[in-house]
C-alpha cells in the first residue's frame, strides 16, 4: 500500500461533518479505530506501506510513526466517544478534523518540509479554534499561536540550515549538523510546552473557552505528536550526547514543576494541563534515555525505555483524555453534562494516570522510567550518572507531589454533585463499565502486542520487544541485571481491574438517599466549586509560585504561575493596541478579522510554497 493512498483515506473525514453532525461523530470513531488497526498491523509487519515522493513532498510511514499512531488513535477514540456522549451544539467539526489530519500528516511525513507543512496546518487550525467562540479568549489563542509559531520557526530554520549544506530536506541532513539538530529538537520541545518554567500553552489552553473534545485534541494529542517528533529525531540518528542529556534535564525540571503547579491548580483543566506537563516531562526523559543508551551501545536499555515511552504515551493519552472529558465548555465549570455521563468511578480510575504509584495508567511507565535511571546511574559514565540521579530524584519527587493532584481531583469529585437522584445508578454503571472495559482491554492487548516477536524485522526500532521485557506477559524484566519487578506487572493490573474493581463495582449500592448537602440550613445558591476551597498545597508551595497578584495591589488578580505567559500577555496587549490602530486607521476593519486574515495568508503562502 502506498502511504499517499493511506493518508488520503483519512481525508474524507473532513467533509462528513458538513453533511451532518452525527456523521461527523461516527467518522471520528471509525477513523480512530482504523488508525489504531493500521498502526498495529504495520508494527506486526502484516501490511507493508511504501513511500510516496513527488518533488519535495515526501510521505513515509515508519515503526516509530506506527507506535505513536496507536497512542494517537487511542486519544482520538476517546475524543470520539466524548463527542458522542456530550453532543456539542457549537462544534466546528471541520476545524477539529483539520487538527487531527495535520497530526496524522506529521506521522506520515518523510522529510522536513512535509513535516513542517502538516505541523503548520494543525497549529493554525488549533489556534483558530481556541479563539473561536469568545473574544476574551483571543489572548489564549494568541499565546498558543505564538508558541506554535516559535516552534515552526525553529523547525524551518533547522531545515534551511540543512538545505544549505545538503541541498535537500531529508531528516538525515538535519540530524547530522549540530546546530540544525539542536534547533530541530527544540522545535518539538517548544511545542510540547516543556521549556522549563514555560507552560504557556497549557495555561492558555486551560483558560480558554473550548469544549472538552477540542481540549483533548489540543491538550493531549499535540504533546503526543511533539513527543513523536522528539523520539524519532533522537532515536533514529546518532546525535551528539548533549541533546539527549539536555532532554533528560529539561524533562526532570518540567516534571517537578508540572506536578507542583498541577497540585496547586484551581480548576480541573489547569490541573489536567499541568499534570500533562509532568507526564510529558517523564516521557521526554525516557526519550533522552533511549537515545543516550543507544549511542553508548546499550540497546537493551534503549529498547526498555522506548517501550516505557510507548506505554506512557498510550496510558497517558487514555487517562488524560478521560479526565479532560470531565471538564465542560469552560475551564471553571465542573458539574457539566459530560461530567455526569462519564461517572465518578470511571474518572477515579482515569485519574490514577496522574499518579505514578499504582500500577495502572502511568504507573508502569513511571517505574520503568525510574528503573532506567537507576541503571544509567550505575553505568559508570560519571556526568551521566549524576544526571540520572538528579533526574531520578526529580521524577520520584514529582510522583509524590502528583499524589496531591490525584487526591484533590478525586476528593473534589464528590463535592460539586448536588443531588444523588436514585435513578443515576444505571447510567453510572454504563459509563464506569466503559472505562473499566477500555482500560482492561488496552492493557492486555498492549502487553501481548509488545511481547510479539516479528520475524525478519530488527527488534530495536520495531517497538515490539519479542518477549524480552515482558516474558510471558506476566512480569517486567529489567535490562539491568535481568531481575523482574516482582508482582508489579501487567498481570497485577489485570488482577487489580478484575478481582478488586469489578466486584467492588458490582456490589456498589444502587440506591441513594435523596438528600441535599447540608448548606447550613439556608437555600443559598453557592457559586463555589470544590476547586475554590482553600488550597493548602498552594499555601505550602507559595514561596516558589510567582504571584502577579501581589504586584497589583489589593485587588485580587489572576494568578499567573508563568512568567513567560505574563510577558506574552503584556506583549499581546501592546500588539493588540498597535494592530487596533493599524486596523482602524489603515485597514478600517476588525482586529479579529485582521488576525484571521494573517493566519489564512500564512497558510495559503505555505501551501503555495509546497506546490512550487
Amino acid at each position: 500500500m502506498n502511504s499517499l493512498i493511506l493518508f488520503l483515506i483519512f481525508v474524507p473525514g473532513l467533509f462528513t461533518a458538513i453533511i451532518s453532525n452525527r456523521a461527523g461523530r461516527i467518522t471520528n470513531l471509525f477513523y480512530s479505530i482504523l488508525l489504531i488497526l493500521i498502526s498495529i498491523f504495520f508494527l506486526l509487519n502484516a501490511i507493508k506501506i511504501g513511500d510516496f515522493s513527488s518533488g519535495y513532498f515526501h510521505l513515509k510511514f515508519t515503526n516509530t510513526g506506527a507506535a505513536f499512531g496507536v497512542g494517537i488513535g487511542v486519544i482520538w477514540f476517546i475524543m470520539a466517544i466524548n463527542k458522542i456522549l456530550a453532543r456539542w451544539m457549537r462544534e466546528r467539526e471541520f476545524l477539529s478534523y483539520f487538527i487531527v489530519l495535520g497530526i496524522i500528516g506529521v506521522l506520515f511525513s518523510g522529510n522536513s518540509i512535509t513535516l513542517i507543512f502538516f505541523w503548520e496546518i494543525f497549529t493554525l487550525a488549533a489556534s483558530y479554534s481556541l479563539g473561536l467562540y469568545d473574544k476574551k479568549y483571543l489572548l489564549s489563542s494568541y499565546v498558543f499561536l505564538s508558541i506554535g509559531e516559535l516552534s515552526t520557526v525553529l523547525l524551518i530554520l533547522s531545515a534551511a540550515i540543512a538545505y544549505s549544506s545538503y541541498g535537500n530536506f531529508s531528516f538525515y541532513g538535519i540530524l547530522h549538523s549540530q546546530i540544525s539538530e539542536a534547533l530541530w529538537v527544540s522545535g518539538f520541545v517548544v511545542k510540547a510546552g516543556i521549556i522549563p518554567l514555560q507552560m504557556s500553552e497549557w495555561y492558555s489552553l486551560s483558560r480558554s473557552g473550548i469544549d472538552s473534545s477540542r481540549a483533548i485534541l489540543i491538550g493531549v494529542m499535540i504533546p503526543s505528536i511533539s513527543l513523536y517528533g522528539i523520539e524519532f529525531s533522537v532515536i533514529g540518528y546518532h546525535l551528539y550526547y548533549l541533546i539527549p542529556i539536555s532532554l533528560i534535564l529539561i524533562g526532570s525540571i518540567s516534571m517537578l514543576f508540572g506536578s507542583i503547579f498541577s497540585s496547586t491548580s484551581e480548576s480541573p483543566r489547569v490541573l489536567a494541563g499541568y499534570s500533562t506537563i509532568e507526564n510529558v516531562g517523564a516521557m521526554i526523559i525516557l526519550s533522552g534515555i533511549s537515545a543516550v543508551s543507544a549511542y553508548s551501545g546499550n540497546y537493551a536499555l534503549s529498547q526498555f525505555s522506548m517501550t516505557a515511552l510507548f506505554i506512557y504515551v498510550i496510558m497517558h493519552g487514555a487517562g488524560k483524555s478521560v479526565i479532560l472529558s470531565s471538564t465542560s465548555f469552560y475551564a471553571d465549570s465542573f458539574n457539566s453534562k459530560e461530567w455526569k455521563s462519564i461517572g465518578k468511578g470511571g474518572l477515579v480510575v482515569a485519574a490514577i494516570s496522574m499518579m505514578g504509584l499504582i500500577p495502572l495508567g502511568g504507573g508502569i511507565g513511571e517505574w520503568m522510567l525510574l528503573e532506567s535511571l537507576f541503571i544509567i546511574s550505575l553505568s559508570g559514565l560519571s556526568y551521566l550518572s549524576v544526571m540520572a540521579v538528579f533526574a531520578g530524584s526529580m521524577a520520584a519527587l514529582s510522583a509524590g507531589i502528583s499524589v496531591i493532584s490525584f487526591t484533590k481531583f478525586v476528593s473534589f469529585l464528590g463535592v460539586s454533585i448536588e443531588d444523588h437522584p436514585e435513578g443515576s445508578g444505571v447510567k453510572k454503571s454504563y459509563s464506569t463499565g466503559f472505562i473499566l472495559i477500555v482500560l482492561s482491554i488496552i492493557f492486555p492487548i498492549l502487553f501481548i502486542l509488545l511481547s510479539i516477536k516479528v520475524p525478519g524485522s530488527p527488534v530495536f526500532y520495531s517497538f515490539l520487544t519479542g518477549g524480552t521485557i515482558f516474558p510471558g506477559w506476566a512480569v517486567i524484566q529489567s535490562p539491568g541485571y535481568g531481575n523482574t519487578f516482582g508482582v508489579v506487572s501487567p498481570m497485577l493490573i489485570l488482577a487489580m481491574a478484575g478481582i478488586i474493581l469489578i466486584p467492588l463495582y458490582l456490589t456498589m449500592p444502587r440506591h441513594f438517599r435523596k438528600v441535599k448537602p447540608w448548606h447550613g440550613g439556608l437555600d443559598i445558591d453557592r457559586t463555589y466549586n470544590s476547586f475554590n476551597y482553600s488550597n493548602p498545597s498552594r499555601i505550602t508551595f507559595s514561596k516558589i509560585l510567582p504571584k502577579i497578584e501581589d504586584r497589583k495591589g489589593e485587588k485580587y488578580e489572576d494568578r499567573n504561575f508563568d512568567l513567560i505567559f505574563g510577558l506574552m500577555s503584556a506583549l499581546y496587549v501592546k500588539y493588540e493596541n498597535m494592530s487596533r490602530k493599524i486596523a482602524l486607521k489603515i485597514m478600517n476593519g476588525d482586529t479579529r478579522r485582521y488576525v484571521l486574515y494573517i493566519m489564512l495568508t500564512l497558510m495559503f503562502a505555505l501551501a503555495v510554497g509546497e506546490l512550487l
Binding site: 448537602p517 447540608w518 440550613g521 439556608l522
Partner: protein
C-alpha cells in the same frame, strides 16, 4: 510535648462513671424545685400548680425560694421514643434555634474530660446528614424555622429530636417552644440543664437506663 504527657499522668482519671456510677455533681438549680405551697409563690412562668412543678417550664430562677428548694435529683425526663439501635453509637448534632448560649455550652461540656462522651459511643457531628439525634436548644425564632425543618428532613431514620432546656420545651420566659413545628422525642428540662441531666436524657433515649 513532654509537658503534656506528664500533665496527663499527674492529673489521673477525672472522668465520671455516670450513668453506671453516681453523678459527681449537679447544679442545684438545674434540678426541679420541690416544696409546698404554704406561702404565696410567684412563679414568672407559671410552672407551679398545687405543689407540683412542671419541669419543662421551670427556668431555674429561684424566685419560688425559700418555699421551694432544689430537689437535687436528676429531673424526670420525658421521652416518647426510645431507640435501642443507637445504644452502641450515636452522633449528635447541636442545633441552636435561639438560645442565650448557655444550653449550647452545656451540651458541648459533654466533650470535656469530666464527662468524656466518647466512652459512651457519643460524638458530635458537623452535619445533620450524619446525625442520629438532633439537640435543639433555644426558643423558636423566625429565621431558624426553615433551617430546623431542613436539618430534621436531612437526617436519616431512626432520628431522635431532643429539646434541650426550658426554652426549647416550653418557650420559657423568652418566647415560643419549638414543639410548634417539630415533634419532641425527648425533653431535657433545666435552664440550662446540667451536663449530667443531658447525659441521662441521652442514655434514656437510647434505652441504656
Amino acid at each position: 510535648m513532654k509537658a503534656w504527657f506528664l500533665r496527663s499522668f499527674k492529673k489521673g482519671i477525672v472522668t465520671s462513671s455516670f450513668p453506671s456510677g453516681k453523678n459527681e455533681s449537679l447544679s442545684p438549680w438545674a434540678t426541679t424545685p420541690a416544696g409546698d405551697i404554704s406561702g404565696e409563690v410567684n412563679c414568672p412562668v407559671d410552672a407551679i400548680h398545687n405543689d407540683k412543678v412542671d419541669s419543662g417550664k421551670c427556668i431555674s430562677c429561684g424566685i419560688c425560694f425559700p418555699q421551694f428548694k432544689p430537689s437535687l435529683q436528676i429531673p424526670q425526663i420525658t421521652t416518647t421514643r426510645v431507640e435501642k439501635s443507637l445504644s452502641k453509637s450515636m452522633k449528635l448534632y447541636i442545633f441552636d434555634s435561639g438560645t442565650c448560649g448557655a444550653c449550647n455550652l452545656e451540651i458541648m461540656a459533654l466533650n470535656s474530660p469530666q464527662y468524656d462522651m466518647n466512652r459512651l459511643g457519643l460524638s458530635f457531628t458537623n452535619t445533620p446528614r450524619q446525625a442520629d439525634a438532633i439537640m435543639v436548644t433555644g426558643v423558636l425564632t423566625d429565621g431558624m424555622i426553615d433551617p430546623l425543618k431542613a436539618a430534621i428532613d436531612s437526617m436519616a431514620s431512626p432520628k431522635i429530636v431532643f429539646a434541650v432546656g426550658a426554652c426549647a420545651i416550653s418557650g420559657g420566659i423568652m418566647g415560643k417552644s419549638i414543639s410548634e413545628i417539630v415533634g419532641l422525642d425527648v425533653q431535657v428540662p433545666g435552664c440550662p440543664p446540667d451536663p449530667f441531666v443531658i447525659m441521662a436524657a441521652i442514655e434514656k433515649a437510647r434505652g441504656r437506663i
